[in-house]
């Protein structure tokens, strides 16, 4: 299992478009991906889970990847968030 903390910088938080981008990015790696936000653990491959968490701009989240290609997956997820999630 690998994990890292990161701050969400895009302007609207994790709304529909960034959530779609995030799921498309991490799904192909095969490992389980979770996001810990405000003490809640979210299945980061589920759009329903990700959206209903209402992750706001500027909040800190922890991404955990567990399983196949976990390191590559975490790296890709962090790079996407740091690039502003398509904004």
């Amino acid at each position: 299992m690998v994990s890292a903390k990161v701050r969400l910088t895009n302007s609207m938080g994790l709304h529909l478009r960034p959530a779609q981008l995030f799921i498309r990015e991490v799904t192909p790696y095969g490992c389980d991906v979770t996001i810990t936000y405000n003490g809640r653990v979210i299945n980061a491959k589920s759009i329903m889970n990700l959206l209903s968490a209402c992750i706001k701009q500027g909040s800190e989240i922890e991404i955990k990847c567990n399983g196949e290609n976990e390191e590559e997956c975490l790296k890709a997820a962090l790079a996407l968030i740091e690039s502003g999630l398509g904004e």
């Binding site: 478009r17 299945n43 491959k45 589920s46 759009i47 329903m48 209402c54």
Partner: protein, 569 residues
């Protein structure tokens, strides 16, 4: 007449197409075993994804990325591993595919509707749309296909779902009416993006309309007229055509420079009376503000606005205009504009009385507050100019400038920034000012001709008095000579000269004004583009000929008749 929220401006006329909610009852569906139900669900889901991806593709090309992503979001929601797992669990436990889908979707609709985040609440509508369309597929029910709607359709629906956007084509859909939704709803944003007139949130909509009825939708006012009579229909059709014409002008002339047919450039500004009008001016292609009336700041209140309040208003307009010139007229009270707390005495002849600059030069506390606010605002973008109304005497300009100088010294002592070179101009609107234009031009940094008052004072005719309506005419040789004289005096002193009265947008007068050498035309926001078009039609040779011939007539009627024949084509 039905009333709702005017969500997308414009007039739409057409025949109503009611989109009612379908009966998607599945209680009669029999459970055929987990394997069969699961297979049915999967087949429907595959079809759903294929159809929706096609829709998203079409919407991306026609409307935009954002709308397309909303549809792709539905695909992702249906393919969500958790959602799939939950539905499969229900099917395994004995639910048919429809029940599994419906129950799980309803759960998520409730979850999202109750989130404390407006953006996320909107996702409930996406899940609702997905649920309806999946049930249609599972039950082999007819889906709503707006792509087949004939030209001139007024869509009437409970709400506009994301999947309906596919069929919304401006060519066929004249207007949209819904029972729910407000100015910021998805339907409103979409209607505005597509420029389809829309009235949303009409209560009990379907009890008041029927399929096939003719309806007029006024998306600006939020009104729906069902089965209008011939006369009303004619009036709205005319209004609609005028709006289309304006739009066309907007399209052609908004980003063009203001030039005559020879390529000579002019400044085309707008007259405004509030901050919100500045935004409209910019959107309508105005190159600056030629007259910002400041009276509104002083009206409908019980005491004068503070320096800070005024500073914020002037700065707001200056910011909106993005560095383009903003000419602000100092307080023009008196005459027909009464303000109770300023304690102006009742006068026999208010139009010839203690008003405008005359008042300000005596009530120096009021005037200096405004001047300080103007000076402070001038530091922000460096695009603010001051204009003095109703000047009749050089001494008035000197006195105003002396007060301005005092204000500058005070600000300097306080370390507050201002534009040291702020321009001070004179509004040319009295016969006295016209006759001493050469003298005023030596003191002023610019002129702006106010034709409404100039005409009224030159002709000694109240423009509100019907009995002498005929005398109030800007075509009168006395008024035209005054205008010509003012412009020539400005030219001789090398200062710019503009016009901020209604005459600047009069197609009959534009060739004359061009020939006189006017530099700047300041017109109402709605006339900017039309004026740009009119200016673009004239060559110098043509306007000089019109000047020669028109100025040779003796009466206002003769001039007007001549210009009617030669100015408009």
């Amino acid at each position: 007449m039905l009333y709702g929220v005017g969500a997308s401006a414009g007039i739409g006329i057409g025949k109503i197409l009611c989109i009612q909610e379908q009966n998607l009852d599945y209680t009669a569906v029999e459970y055929q075993g987990a394997k069969a139900e699961s297979a049915r669900l999967k087949a429907a889901a595959d079809a759903f994804c294929e159809i929706t991806e096609r829709m998203a593709q079409d919407v991306r090309e026609r409307i935009g990325q954002k709308e397309s992503e909303i549809l792709m979001g539905q695909v992702m929601m249906l393919q969500d591993p958790l959602v799939t797992e939950q539905m499969e669990e229900m099917i395994a436990a004995g639910s048919c595919a429809e029940a599994a889908l419906d129950t799980i979707c309803q759960g998520y609709i409730e979850l999202f509707s109750n989130l404390d985040d407006e953006l996320m609440q909107q996702r409930a509508a996406d899940i609702q749309d997905m649920r309806t369309r999946m049930l249609q597929l599972l039950l082999h029910a007819q889906s709503i296909d707006l792509t087949l709607a004939p030209k001139g359709t007024v869509v009437a629906a409970k709400d506009l779902t994301p999947s309906m956007t596919v069929g919304l084509k401006k060519e066929n859909i004249s207007a949209i009416v819904t029972q729910v939704g407000g100015k910021t709803s998805h339907a409103a944003i979409l209607a505005r993006a597509l420029e389809i007139p829309a009235v949303l949130g009409v209560a009990n909509l379907f009890e008041q309309i029927e399929n096939g009825q003719t309806a007029i939708i006024d998306g600006g006012k939020g009104e729906v007229l069902v089965c209008p009579d011939e006369k009303t229909l004619g009036e709205y059709t005319k209004q609609q055509q005028e709006q289309w014409r304006q739009k066309e002008l907007l399209f052609i002339y908004r980003d063009k420079q203001t030039q005559d047919a020879d390529g000579r450039s002019y400044d085309l500004y707008a007259n405004i009376g509030s901050v919100s009008e500045a935004q409209a001016a910019l959107e309508n292609g105005a190159e600056g503000i030629g007259l910002f009336r400041t009276e509104f700041l002083f009206m409908n209140r019980s005491s004068a606005p503070t320096e800070q309040e005024q500073f914020e208003t002037y700065t707001a307009v200056s910011r909106i205009m993005q560095g383009k010139e903003v000419i602000i007229r100092t307080l023009d009270v008196g005459g027909d504009k009464e303000i109770a707390y300023l304690n102006m005495p009742k006068e026999q002849n208010p139009f010839l009385g203690w008003r405008a600059i005359r008042y300000c030069l005596e009530q120096t506390d009021v005037f200096k507050t405004q001047l300080r606010a103007l000076l402070r605002a001038s530091a922000v973008n460096g695009n603010v100019k001051i204009m003095l109304p109703l000047v009749t005497d050089v001494q008035e300009v000197r006195a105003a400038k002396a007060l301005l100088e005092q204000c500058k010294q005070e600000l300097k002592a306080q370390g507050i920034p201002y534009d040291e070179d702020i321009s001070v101009g004179v509004m040319m609107e009295t016969p006295a000012a016209a006759l001493i234009a050469d003298l005023l031009a030596k003191e002023a940094d610019f002129f702006s001709i106010g034709t409404n008052d100039l005409t009224q004072y030159t002709m000694a005719a109240d423009r509100g008095n019907a009995k002498i309506k005929g005398l109030y005419s800007t075509f009168h040789p006395a008024v035209l000579r005054s205008i010509s004289h003012i412009i020539k005096a400005a030219k001789r002193e090398g200062i710019p000269v503009g016009m901020c009265g209604e005459a600047a947008a009069d197609p009959l007068l534009i060739p004359l004004l061009l020939a006189f050498g006017l530099d700047e035309f300041s017109v109402s926001v709605s006339s900017v583009l039309q004026t740009r078009k009119w200016i673009s039609g004239w060559t110098q040779r043509q306007t000089e000929q019109i000047e020669r011939e028109a100025m040779a007539f003796s009466t206002a009627n003769e001039v007007e008749e001549y210009l009617m024949k030669h100015s408009v084509r």
